[in-house]
Subunit: 656 residues, 2 copies
Amino acid sequence: MEIIRSNFKSNLHKVYQAIEEADFFAIDGEFSGISDGPSVTALTSGFDTPEERYQKLKKHSMDFLLFQFGLCAFKYDHTDSKYITKSFNFYVFPKPFSRSSPDVKFVCQSSSIDFLASQGFDFNKVFCSGIPYLNQEEERHLREQFDEKRSQANGAGALAKCPVTIPEDQRKFIDQVIEKIENFLQNKEKKSLDLEPCTGFQRKLIYQTLSWKFPKGIHVETLETEKKERHIVISKVDEEERKRREQEKYAKEQEELNDAVGFSRVIHAIANSRKLVVGHNMLLDVMHTIHQFYCPLPADLNEFKEMTICVFPRLLDTKLMASTQPFKDIINNTSLAELEKRLKETPFDPPKVESAEGFPSYDTASEQLHEAGYDAYITGLCFISMANYLGSLLGPPKVCVSARSKLIEPFFNKLFLMRVMDIPYLNLEGPDLQPKRDHVLHVTFPKEWKTSDLYQLFSAFGNIQISWIDDTSAFVSLSQPEQVQIAVNTSKYAESYRIQTYAEYVGKKQEDNKQVKRKWTEDSWKEVDRKQPKVSSPCSHTNSKNIPALLVTAHVCFTVRTCLPHLLLPMCVSHFTATGMTGKRNLSPDPEEAGSEDKELEEISDSELEQIDSCADPFPEGRRKVKKLKRMKKELSLAGTVADSPAMLFEVPDTW
Amino acid sequence: MEIIRSNFKSNLHKVYQAIEEADFFAIDGEFSGISDGPSVTALTSGFDTPEERYQKLKKHSMDFLLFQFGLCAFKYDHTDSKYITKSFNFYVFPKPFSRSSPDVKFVCQSSSIDFLASQGFDFNKVFCSGIPYLNQEEERHLREQFDEKRSQANGAGALAKCPVTIPEDQRKFIDQVIEKIENFLQNKEKKSLDLEPCTGFQRKLIYQTLSWKFPKGIHVETLETEKKERHIVISKVDEEERKRREQEKYAKEQEELNDAVGFSRVIHAIANSRKLVVGHNMLLDVMHTIHQFYCPLPADLNEFKEMTICVFPRLLDTKLMASTQPFKDIINNTSLAELEKRLKETPFDPPKVESAEGFPSYDTASEQLHEAGYDAYITGLCFISMANYLGSLLGPPKVCVSARSKLIEPFFNKLFLMRVMDIPYLNLEGPDLQPKRDHVLHVTFPKEWKTSDLYQLFSAFGNIQISWIDDTSAFVSLSQPEQVQIAVNTSKYAESYRIQTYAEYVGKKQEDNKQVKRKWTEDSWKEVDRKQPKVSSPCSHTNSKNIPALLVTAHVCFTVRTCLPHLLLPMCVSHFTATGMTGKRNLSPDPEEAGSEDKELEEISDSELEQIDSCADPFPEGRRKVKKLKRMKKELSLAGTVADSPAMLFEVPDTW
């Protein structure tokens, strides 16, 4: 169902009802751009820490506008064993509410706009008919404005708050107004009196004067003429009529205020439901949603995590799910469109889904990708298929796994991290994974160098993986940590490039940050050169023909690989150390909320799985299935619960 | 005529022809926003110097997109004594040309977008069908890319420029490719050979190897598969065929390049015509046009002036024209829509205008304001009416004043300065006017203060005019310079606010700027606090009730004015000193270009006007008319030629 400014209010109850009934939601956003930075590549370095990635996205992506929001509510119908969906596609635009309301500026990225245009996106619906919204601060401010206006109109308030002495040059004007009103009150035939248009300051003076001069018997209000000039209208009223008018005005103002809060009310309703919200690669969606409809994002990642959990207590990212065991082995491409197709085939079962009455149904055969409502819909389908697949691994198999099942809890509040090589997700409920990066080098080189130059430099090391940082530096991960020191040692005499270990790089960066902080404290407005290692001049214009292959004599074996760089995934398994874990794995779901019919079957503990594994299931197939589930739990629980395990094995998903 | 991406190429010759034939053009632009700054008010302080205004617009407005460009070409038809118009409305959008082309980010301002939406603007036409463009640097870069690609394809170039040593791990791959090609060459039936898709680096190696291994007899090219994978195709060709294919490819590339330069070609054609370009309040249009289609704006105003004169040697701003004598006295509202209406009435004559065959005609009765093509059209009409009115003042009157007439030369290259109180225009051909601001005060106060608080503070001074700078400072101009010192003296003991003269303010600012520059030189990346006068703490939360009226005992007279602040125009006449003038008033029009039929009548010198004034015209009416023309010349020539006059009277236009 398409929702724009004109049909928003009349359909809001349908949205609320869908949220009220739903078992879970899927959401998706379309933005006016992805990356405002120098280039997307630089923004998503393969060895970003979660903190770095958050800072980059916050800095370079939040100026874009989330202008289409897809919400698909899924409700399970136990009678017919199918899901009933209600899908909404909202167009959103920060139309200024009044002259004094915020005039939002947002950035558009040509490539993103062009991409959406090629998908048939209707920009007129956004810009001409988008639903307005306010964040919490703006809403508070507007409420205060209304309150102030009301207390000013009440007179007493104006007096109490900031009465203005009537300046000499206004006295005559005010005296004339009083005279007019006195004449008007004596004239029994006239019911109302229009004063001349005047300045805001003069209106303030009039309101103030009238409130003590004529505390009863008249109603004062400001109206706008056709020429947009504001003028005061005085009417004779008894006390009852005056109160009725006040109340009428108050109700009208409340409605205006609600209209201004607009689409944010939908987000508030989703948040207040505390229900599971599913998204595909949803980090940016979540960041934008909070930034646009709640408040500007906090400076610190941990604060962002706390804030997110407050707004959305249960999030699930289908891209992370599909990239994790047991799905990883059977799903090659985790892009939404490909995932949706894959999940229609064995061993998966496409779920039974029907759109609710009065809601248009989507046809997944004719793709409508990148319409947020459709994307939200198929994200929900993907979630159901994968959840049900987990159920099929149980003994006995469970056909339908609900949104409240313990089986999916390990995926809660872990958001997929795009293109990070060795940290699959941002953990909203505790500290993030800290992979050992002892096979990673930090390389600095002249800005003329290209990827091929780096491949050539490291040609003796077999498979390497390159992760650009900026024009003159990159991370290079080697297949064996032992090669790292060889590379560093041999590079010591190089003039055009420099190599240091990842640990050295991080150490220096932290040192630099400390210095920057110190300098900031010392002389407040000083910004310090980041001390990026500069390449010495003699070879700064070196082109590829001068780059010697590094360490061609080193005795390491390598294989010929004729594929694109992004397919050269690390061959090794990375090691993680989880330090200082304090967060718990999952927010406990409210016991009252959990569907009782699911409880019995799904509250399976590790020991129960163990039991099934070792004895309950007589068939090897069943045993394998349970192993899959255990592997999944192990893989994901790492950052949350296993504070004591010093190092855990984690396999990097194959598909990014 | 509406021009979008799909019909641009097929109509470009019509655009060129219209430019070729025209006597003059009118232009107009629509933008995605006006001011990216804190607020438009702060951006257009009434006492900005032209330099400050330029810097503000450059900093806060150039990130917006000019996305609709109106061009209306006017050609005078001597037979029928009427103008023939060709109006074009171009939709413009920086669609990325290829993966490696610039991915432009631009800002949108909600209020501007909302305003355009309310006028029925079609955003889909911009974003889905906008004509692409490149600035000169981007065009150069793209040409270089093409040249490099070609020389790489030619083989010789690749070898000469940067031959790559084949890395060990690629040798086997390259050997296999060579073997395949050798087999292919021996197979007489096969005409072409498709190699497997491979990386860019591998393709580079292949091109390089083949260029020396098979310098003749084969043609090598890279094609993209349906899956967007790039692969090399080898075909057998004789030398002639090879050359033909090369040329074909070259021609195709040139066309692609022209397509990418896109709309910039229209601007180049306008610029190359060296003809008069008319606009209404056109400073932002000119800045955006240069910024978007030529190059980023220079840091310095004088460089901007030089650049503008290079691109558009003759500009005329109808808003400035309408705000200057003899029009000022008879035109109240200089907004485009109002001006157009006013110029249909006496003493003006609406010009005879007809749209050319094949061009849809605009109907000024049903307004289509804010469609750039229409706005350009009526801007041209306004120019013609006003120019003809000047002709009517001559003795004998001249019915039609051409775009090459000396009568309008005084208006050339002076762009209207929006909301500057005492400098009506930016002078592109020399130094700007420097009004004495000896009746102006600079006031600093707590951020809670509002306009009414300032009025109250200065209530004893009669009419004042307030010009906000930021939250805590404003310029206040008094009606009499003698009041300035009284205000400064009396404010010395004030705690919550500070007052200094304009001269003191400018002096301190220049001192601060020097210090900033010195500091920048000393430690390069340091940014210095601007030392904005801070209000001392005790009264920082003062609200209006604590603000005493300043100098209520001062013996100055004042009048009660019950109108809005923006109508409180200074009562006094400002004094200008024109210093260091070196520029000449007008760029001499090319003698060959000037229509000979106009020359005789219109090359009127000041002494000729004098003659007409004193004797040639027997009627007082004629004498008054000539006085009007002289007054106009005097008023405008100030900044250009009258270097010797120490101070000149200048009346501020009434309508801003």
